[in-house]
């Protein structure tokens, strides 16, 4: 399988690069692409339709290609994968129908392949945890990877897209045939808990009303002060995503970042669902040594795994905010491990697998996917 990575700041620029890349030796069948909402996505999608290349993509909050980080651009990974080894799926959904959407995706996958493996992107109106639960309801412990689409941290609307759809309320899946395509992946976080245990005393889905019996916003403001302030005349929380709740469930930790606040009732809207009565600790970004730690973990993970032909990375926007320009060191380090074509984007939430092979919906992680033909 041949692959090419391309990037550009305009549709015209990319169109030209894609035209040049298509040769007698390389006729891509699949494009995986992530791009800024500031680009003309409609015109962009048309390029792939014109070249009869199947498209799986999402809007982003910053992009990366190989060792370079980009902003307000589009990155694309072109693959000449056997068309019989993959299928693209699109489903309109919202928070409440996420499970059902996941379930339908799993059914679509099973109809196509005996051993389907899923890459997904989805709008921020979708509950990533629900999607996983829906897929696992039909195919327990199935491999799922992906990321919640971004919008350059405008927190307005995020899109997943295919050749036919560009939607702010959808789940898009790239289903790969596990018999023909080797897919491995793992997600690492590194965020550290701080302070004592707290309890969510009132919540619904991903909205937290009360912590320790007090309005949620009062509690987090009391702890983080201006890092949890909202933008002027805006309900988006600034900086809060870097100090997520480390939820304690069944003895395991899952991070949940606060994205919005509602000043009327003092509630917080998190990037994923939580349960009333659940305990959590606040967490802080690790020191910069987390970059080396993550690279070491990826290297360890790669041992005895087939060498990938392409790498896709879903890295949390909060991770970018927290590591700042040093996130480039992490990206460069990951690319250097395999030296293969790599693209990815900064997400508002990641789906990845832990070291034990369980798929989860995370925040603050770096979720890696390695793809190769068998």
């Amino acid at each position: 399988m041949k692959t090419i990575t391309l990037s550009g700041h305009s549709v015209a620029d990319l169109s030209e690069k894609i035209n040049q890349s298509i040769t007698a030796d390389f006729k891509p069948t699949l494009a995986i692409s992530f791009g800024s909402v500031k680009c003309d996505l409609v015109a962009y999608v048309k390029i792939f339709n014109d070249h009869d290349i199947q498209l799986f993509g999402a809007s982003s909050a910053g992009e990366f290609i190989n060792e370079d980080r980009k902003e307000e651009s589009i990155v694309v990974l072109l693959l000449d994968m056997d068309p019989a080894a993959f299928a693209v799926y699109h489903q309109e959904a919202d928070f409440g129908t996420s499970f059902s959407a996941g379930h339908k995706l799993a059914k679509f996958g099973l109809d196509k392949f005996k051993d389907p493996i899923f890459l997904v992107t989805f709008s921020m109106t979708i509950n990533g945890e629900g999607v996983i639960a829906g897929v696992h309801d039909l195919i327990p412990r199935e491999k799922i990877f992906g990321g919640m689409a971004g919008d350059d941290f405008a927190m307005q609307a995020t899109y997943s897209f295919t050749n036919d759809q560009i939607s702010p309320s959808s789940l898009t899946g790239l289903v790969l045939d596990g018999d023909k395509i080797q897919v491995d992946g793992v997600a690492f976080c590194g965020w550290e808990p701080i302070g004592g245990k707290n309890r969510i005393t009132k919540s619904k889905d991903n909205i937290v009303y009360e912590i320790n019996g007090q309005p949620a916003m009062d509690v987090v403001k009391g702890v983080f002060g201006n890092f949890y302030e909202t933008l002027e005349n805006h309900d988006v929380l600034m900086g809060a995503a870097q100090y997520p709740f480390q939820m304690i469930k069944d003895g395991k930790y899952v991070l949940r970042a606060a994205l919005y606040s509602n000043e009327d009732d003092g509630s917080l809207i998190l990037a994923g669902p939580v349960e009333e009565g659940q305990e959590f600790r606040f967490s802080v970004a690790p020191g910069f040594e987390v970059i080396d730690d993550t690279l070491e973990k990826f290297k360890e993970f790669a041992i005895n795994k087939p060498k990938p032909e392409a790498v896709i990375l879903f890295s949390c926007k909060a991770r970018h905010m927290s590591l700042g320009p040093l996130v480039e060191d992490e990206l460069a380090g990951i690319h250097e491990i395999w030296g293969k074509d790599m693209i990815g984007f900064f997400t508002y939430g990641e789906i990845g697998m832990d070291i034990d092979g369980n798929s989860n919906f995370y925040n603050e992680t770096c979720s890696l996917v390695m793809i190769s033909e068998k």
Partner: protein
């Protein structure tokens, strides 16, 4: 041609130079960009490190606040639990009082043997229930860390007589020989929490009596070593009872641990006694060990280091009363019993009738006030919880009213409440005795005797009464140490009283300020300083309060009651100043 070639060569060289120069420039630009990137990264590192520190501090601060909040909740819950247990104890003890009292009265009537046996079973069961209730209460308090140690001087031989008085009859009923002795060369005047030591010894000796069918029980106190003003004491409690199996000897100090008799039956009881003993020993800073041979007997050894005193201490020691006969003079005295529970009233009426003593009854505070206003009593017995108020507040009222005919009447508080605070308050307002309900007739007589004797010592005047001009100098309980030290030079006594009289308002003002400022360190030092002066001058009630406040404010240990104590201290100080003024007036005449 050659010229052209030269020109071309020259041009080529220049072009190469320019290309090289451009490449160099580009390389330089790349290097500069790289450096700028590293500077940006370094700046970000620094900013984030600072921000992380800020966040870490904020989270830790919040965690501390949250822990304090949770601690407050736990304290409230603990207080609620304590109050609940105290309340339950009151509710249980009051009817138990009725059962015990009535069974005592029934047993004095003519009954068949069968009826006597039934009554004895009732009495025995009620006794056991009382022990269990008391044990549960003690354990609850200890677990809540609410046991407060109060060290006081006491005289060991008298202390043993008290214990003997309580247990002698029980031992005799089982034909057991009970011996309590203090080894020669053992310091006799001890400073310790004698109430807790009493509780430990009574518990262990009661066990010995319970588990011994024949033979003897010994309590021996000896000194292992003396170090300055301290002595290492060994209390040995030995019996010839059923003993404890070796494998059970470590378990007996665990709560709810039960032992079996020689036939394998479970001995009655909640199994809390030895757990309480061990915890109390730990509180006192001592150790306990057990040696036993199953079937032959048990020996408990208590190791305790206590302060020792020399000389005159015996006179401030609790006086043991061996005799419990009712003094014949009591038939001429007037008693008032303030109590709302009809069973308790009936019980008391019968007892006093049997003793041939007249007693007035008042069922609430209002009736009590009326009776206290119009009658002079020789002894008041009062319950604490009354339908329209609190017995202790009622006594405080008469203690603060110099015009009341009962201003100085001895008071004995009888209550089912086990609150430690009430005990302290009781002591602080000059109440002569305090005993828990249900009481036994012998104990009641003993306590009344203690109160009245104390009142009538050295004649008909109360020993704690405000000194009148006719009283011999220094014969009252006030100013004891002052007269002991300076009695030969009354002008010094007078001068010291005058200094103290001017000093106390200043101290009160400082205490008030420290209290308002929540400056408990300042409060502690102020009360600590005045305490020694109060001791030298000899104001017993004020001293008690000063000691309590000193203890509670030491490192702000427990300042929840300070406001109340300070109020009492101010009131007591006002009374004491009145007493000092009377003494100064009398001294003026004598000195002149």
């Amino acid at each position: 041609m050659q010229k052209l070639e030269k020109i071309a060569e020259e041009l080529s060289r220049k072009i190469n130079e320019q290309v090289a120069s451009k490449e160099q420039s580009q390389e330089m630009i790349r290097q500069v960009e790289k450096i700028v990137k590293e500077i940006v990264k370094s700046e970000f590192r620094l900013k984030r490190t600072l921000r992380d520190n800020e966040i870490t501090n904020a989270v830790l601060k919040n965690t501390i606040t949250e822990l304090e909040r949770q601690n407050e909740i736990i304290e409230k819950q603990s207080k609620f639990k304590e109050e609940l247990f105290a309340s339950i104890s009151h509710e249980l003890r009051t009817p138990l009082h009725g059962i015990l009292g009535m069974s005592q009265l029934i047993s004095r009537t003519d009954m068949s043997e069968k009826q006597t046996n039934f009554v004895n079973v009732i009495k025995g069961s009620a006794d056991n229930l009382l022990v269990i209730i008391n044990d549960i209460l003690s354990l609850t308090k200890m677990n809540a860390g609410k046991i407060e140690l109060v060290e006081r001087p006491f005289y060991l031989p008298d202390f043993l007589k008290e214990i003997e008085g309580v247990l002698k009859l029980k031992a005799e009923e089982k034909n057991l020989f009970l011996r309590l002795e203090v080894a020669p060369d053992t310091p006799k005047n001890i400073v310790a929490d004698h109430i807790r030591i009493y509780q430990i010894l009574i518990n262990l000796l009661n066990n010995s009596i319970k588990f011994t069918e024949k033979g003897w029980i010994l309590l021996k106190i000896e000194s292992l070593a003396k170090r300055g003003d301290k002595a290492d004491l060994l209390f040995t409690i030995e019996d010839t009872g059923i003993g404890i199996e070796k494998e059970k000897q470590e378990q007996i100090f665990e709560p709810f641990s039960r032992v079996h008799d020689l036939e394998g039956g479970v001995i009655e009881g909640a199994g809390l006694g030895l757990n309480i003993v061990k915890k109390l020993m730990s509180l006192l800073g001592g150790k306990i060990s057990v040696e036993s041979k199953y079937g032959s007997g048990t020996c408990f050894k208590l190791y305790l280091t206590c302060k020792i005193l020399d000389g005159e201490v015996a006179e401030i020691t609790d006086t043991a009363i061996d005799e419990i006969e009712i003094p014949s003079t009591w038939k001429d005295l007037r008693f008032l019993y303030i109590e709302d529970n009809p069973t308790n009233i009936l019980y008391a009426k019968h007892l006093f009738l049997e003793w041939n003593i007249e007693i007035d009854i008042a069922e609430d505070c209002a009736k009590s006030r009326e009776k206290l206003k119009n009658n002079k009593y020789d002894c008041i017995l009062s319950d604490v919880k009354l339908p329209d108020g609190n017995g202790i507040d009622l006594i405080r009222e008469i203690r603060e009213n110099f015009n009341s005919p009962n201003y100085q009447t001895p008071v004995l508080i009888l209550t089912a409440s086990a609150s430690e605070h009430e005990r302290i308050i009781t002591e602080a307002i000059n109440i002569q005795s305090y005993m828990g309900k249900p009481f036994r007739p012998t104990h009641l007589i003993k306590e009344m005797k203690r109160a009245i004797d104390n009142y009538q010592k050295d004649g008909s005047e109360p020993t704690y009464k405000i000194p009148m001009s006719s009283e011999p100098v220094g014969k009252n309980k006030y100013f004891t140490l002052l007269y002991k030290n300076f009695g030969k030079n009354l002008s010094v006594v007078k001068e010291m009283l005058e200094i103290f009289k001017t000093q106390i308002p200043v101290t009160l003002e400082k205490l008030e300020k420290h209290h308002n400022d929540k400056n408990y360190e300042g409060f502690y030092f102020e009360i600590h300083r005045i305490k020694s002066t109060i001791k030298i001058v000899g104001l017993p009630q004020l001293l008690e309060l000063a000691m309590v406040m000193e203890r509670d404010t030491y490192e702000a240990a427990d300042v929840t009651m300070i406001s109340d104590y300070l109020d009492k201290f101010k009131k007591q100080a006002a009374i004491d100043i009145h007493i000092i003024e009377a003494e100064l007036e009398r001294l003026s005449k004598n000195v002149a």
